[in-house]
Each structure stands twice: as C-alpha cells, then as structure tokens.
Symmetry: C2
Subunit: 316 residues, 2 copies
C-alpha cells in the first residue's frame, strides 16, 4: 500500500514528491515513463523561474530541471518508469492500474499536464523550442522589439497575439479562415491593434532557419494566391491543447472526478479535486497558468494536502 | 500613472514584478521599505524550494533570495523604499497613499504577507531561524529523528505537532492551559499520538544554546511546580499570526476588498480579489500555504492577471 502515488514527472509531480516525502510520507512513488522534467525540458531558454537566472547564455529548460530529481530523491521519493493506465477508487483506497499489475494507494496526485497540438507544417518539430513556441508568456520576451507570427484564430491565439504586441514590434496573425472563432471583444481588440497585421485564409507551409533557430515562415493562401515569406525569428502556434486526463477516465466513460468542458480538472486553492484523497497539480487543472513556478507550487500544495488528508483519516 | 503598483517585496511581490514587467508592462513599482526578500531571509536553512538544493551546508534564506531582485530589475521592475499607508479605488484607478505623496495606478498587487506573533520568551529573537521556528513544513525535516518542542494550543499548533510527529522522534507540546482551543478531533488525535507528550499549564521562559543554535528550552509551570529543562534542538512557536492587511483598511474602517474572519483576503485561483484590478499574492490570502514557491507562484499569476486586466480594459 502506497501513501501517495504521483502520476507525472514534470515540475508539478516532482514538487509534489518533494513536499510529500519531506513532510514524512514513507511510500511515495512517482510514475513517469521517461526522464523526469516535463515539457519545459524542450525549451531552449527559460528566464522567468524566480530565483534562477542567467543572462548570457540563458538557462535551458533541461538545465533548469536537472537538479530537481536529485533533490526529491534525497527525501525518499521513488521513481518508477511505468505507464499508469488508469486510476479508480473503491472504498477508502485508490487503485493504480499499471497494466501488468495493480497497486493500491491512500492518496493520488495527478500531474500529467497538457500537450499543445501540433499544426503539422514542415519544420515544426525541428524548431520547437528554438523559434517555434506554444507559450507567449514564456517566450515572448525573447522577441522584444522584433517581428513575430502567430498561427491560429481561437481565443488563446488572439489573446496571446495581444500579449505579444506589448513586447514585439509587429505581430502577424495567420489564420486559415476569414473569420475568427474568438470572442467578439477580443477580435475587435486585435483588429484595432496597430501592431497586429492579419493574414487570413492562409496556412503555414514551413518554418525555416539554421542552427541558430528560425529565420522565416512560408505562408500559403487558400485561394491559390502567390505564397508569401515572412522574415520572422519566431512563430507562436496556438491550434489547440490536449489535456492529458486519460488516466482519470473510468470504464463507464465518465471521469473519476469533476472536469470542465475542456476536460480540465476542477480544483480549489488546495488542489483538491471533487474526490477525497485525489489531488491535481499543474497544467491539467482549471485556470492553469502553464508556468514552471506555478506547476511547482501546485505540486507543493498537493503534497502537503495529501499528507494532511492521511493525518486526518487515521483509519487509512 | 503606474501600470501596476506592487506592495511588498518578498517572494510574491518580486515574482509579480518579474511577470508584470517581462510581460510588457512599463511602469511597475514595487514598494518595500527594506531590502527585498521577505521573511524567508531570516531562515538559516531552506531545502524545499524546487530546483535549488545544496546539501551541506544547506542554503540560507538570504542566499536563496539574493538573485531575485536582480532578475526582476533586469526586466524593468522599479523598487521604491517607501511605506504604503493605504490603497483606495476611485472610479477606474487606484490611489496609493505614500504619506507625503499620492500615486495613481491602473492595477495593484498586494503582497504584504503575514507575521507570526512572538511569544515573548528570552532568546526568541536571538534564535529565530536557528532553532526557533514558526513553520513545521519548512523546518520540521531539519529535526528528523530528533526531539522537538511546540509552543501553543490552537489548531495550528496541534496540527503542526501532528505533522512533526511523522518526522521527529518525539514532540513535546507546551500549552499554558490544561484545555486546548483546537478542534476536538485534532485534540483527540494529539492525545492518542504516542510520539506527542503534553506539557500543560506551562510556558516557555527561555530558549538557550550557543553559536550552533538551540540546545534546550526552560519551561515554567503555572502552579509553581519546579521548572523543567527540555534538551531539544528545536522549538516551534505557534501563538498566532498577524495578517498584514493594514494597507487595505479604508477610512470607514472597512476593507477595500472582501476578507475572511481572520483578515485574510478572499481570492480565486487567479489571485483576483473582489475588486476589479486588485490582486493579492502570498501569505495575505486565504488558504496560503506559506511556502516560498507558492508565494512566487501567486505573484506570477497576479502579475499575468494584472497585464491581462489592462489589456481587457483598454480605456484605462
């Protein structure tokens, strides 16, 4: 019987493990198939994790996350490279389905995050984290006073374009239709913004560049108009987000706990889900700010709350 | 006119400044009378800030916070060593009262924290952060398999004593009465806990030790019984907490925004208070976990939300 099972090994899962073990829980296992560290390890630069800052060259996501597993293991966190297929609760305890075996746990912290959807153009994977970005808050500042492009037409795409317009000299918004799905007030703000130029009925065919990163974007038009090249060092892609909530799906098709329309788990300030003993941390939850420091905080809170839950329910 | 006024220069205030300025806000001022860094700079050891870990010797709170101001200033945060007397909102804008002058701001982030009350025994200030602690989650692990004492009889004192019993070999709870103010189920758990020993009708007269830290606690009894010495290296003091909400008090005696019975500001997951444009981060808010990483996350969220608020309200 585990005291706490942690699903996911990014900043939220690691920080949950740190706080749960350092707080005195004995059997705490973090399930993560790959190397711990999470999505941020794909970033070539991070300069907004408070307290860790290197100007030139900037810290990479890999460098940022390198010390985390050691810190957690020091206090007793165990890492198992096993895939969690599902989580269920029967009576007081949770069952973690690992396919070939099943493990019981008193508490569970789910920190499986979310994954930005790929748009599918040439060079997208190659330049991800080196000119192709999925987060304006994270990477916008690296293009201060430069021109950038945004791909997408939903609320996130347009809100991020407005955000970028505060930092960058110009923002091209590339959208495959001539109308936006975003909320009308947001569309209006974009249309009135002198720094934003709309490129409609268009798609990205390719990003190109060299070892230094992206140098431009090739744009195709739906109506067969002559393709266009934008000489920009950055392309922000916002074409949707997959919430990694699969482990919470039950056999009957429902989720183990309450989720919203986007599939994000509903939590309170204590990272409690609607099911006692089940906590959720990081990008999987509602209102997730999608920042390393926020995921780490969520994990810390979930770790402390898991401990508190066990102390309050001594019969466990 | 400021874009954002930040009140308080601990981890929450600094992180708010980092995110607000890096996100593109131009006029962002952090008001903090002393050196930025906050309460944690008084701690002799910190090992649970995710990603920053040094085993021997442990990192001090001062060392942890040392790089933060530089990181924030790099993106344009301004620090003014002025005391904020009060904050009010008239129409769309906030007024920051600095005594000799008044400044207007579009948004405000309050991160003034809370201050643990002192019990008043000899040596309390001298050994604070070197054996006298006000946070079990922060410092409990430093006393792994050792004996410690807790001073206090409220919910926090007893919950923290239970927390410490998971880590320490023994926990003495010193309380000035023979009954506890804490919730009955908590009292029952303490009474049944084999690692907790109650010392009732008693008070702490003095903590003593040397340059290495605390070596013991002198306990006096109300009934004149012979004083007692506990040979413990750690004393946890939980005799109440002052929420630093003074800047939110209005002339009519009410608070600018909704607060709970303890005076903590009510916020949602986005650190929004009940007043548009006013955000609260760190130990001043409800359910504050009182951890550096959590305060930093709150600040990051508040900084992003302040930016978002200005973008959504272009008339500002």
């Amino acid at each position: 019987m585990l005291d706490c099972a942690i699903v996911g090994g990014g900043p939220a899962g690691l920080s949950a493990g740190l706080y749960a073990t350092r707080g005195g829980l004995k059997n705490v296992v973090m399930y993560e198939m790959g190397m711990p560290g999470g999505q941020i390890t794909q970033s070539s630069e991070i300069e907004n994790y408070p307290g860790i800052f290197r100007e030139d060259p900037s810290l990479t996501g890999m460098e940022l996350m390198e010390p985390w597993p050691k810190q957690c293991m020091h206090f007793g966190l165990k890492h198992e490279m096993k895939e969690v297929k599902g989580i269920s609760k029967d009576g007081d305890y949770f069952t973690i389905n690992l396919g070939s075996e099943k493990v019981q746990s008193k508490t569970v912290i789910v920190a499986t995050g979310s994954t930005p959807k790929r748009a599918g153009f040439k060079g997208e994977d190659k330049f991800l984290g080196r000119g192709v970005s999925t987060c304006a808050t994270c990477d916008g500042f690296f293009y201060k006073d430069k021109e950038v492009a945004v791909l997408g037409g939903g609320d996130t795409a347009l809100e991020e374009a407005i955000y970028l317009s505060n930092i960058c000299s110009k923002v091209y918004v590339i959208h495959r239709r001539d109308k936006f799905r975003a909320a009308p007030p947001t569309v209006e703000r974009v249309e009135k913004n002198p720094k934003i130029e709309l490129i409609l009925n268009a798609s990205v065919d390719e990003v190109f560049g060299d070892a230094m990163g992206v140098s431009g974007v090739k744009v195709l038009f739906n109506d067969g108009k002559e393709p266009m090249e934008l000489k920009v060092p950055g392309l922000f892609v916002f074409v949707g987000n997959n919430v990694n909530n699969g482990v919470l799906k039950q056999e009957d098709g429902n989720f183990l706990c309450e989720v919203n329309e986007q599939g994000q788990v509903v939590v309170d300030l204590n990272m409690k889900s609607s099911v006692a003993g089940l906590f959720v941390a990081g990008d999987l939850r509602i209102d997730a700010p999608k920042q390393v420091v926020c995921a780490a905080s969520d994990g810390a809170i979930a770790g402390m709350q898991a401990l508190h839950y066990i102390q309050e329910n001594e019969e466990l």
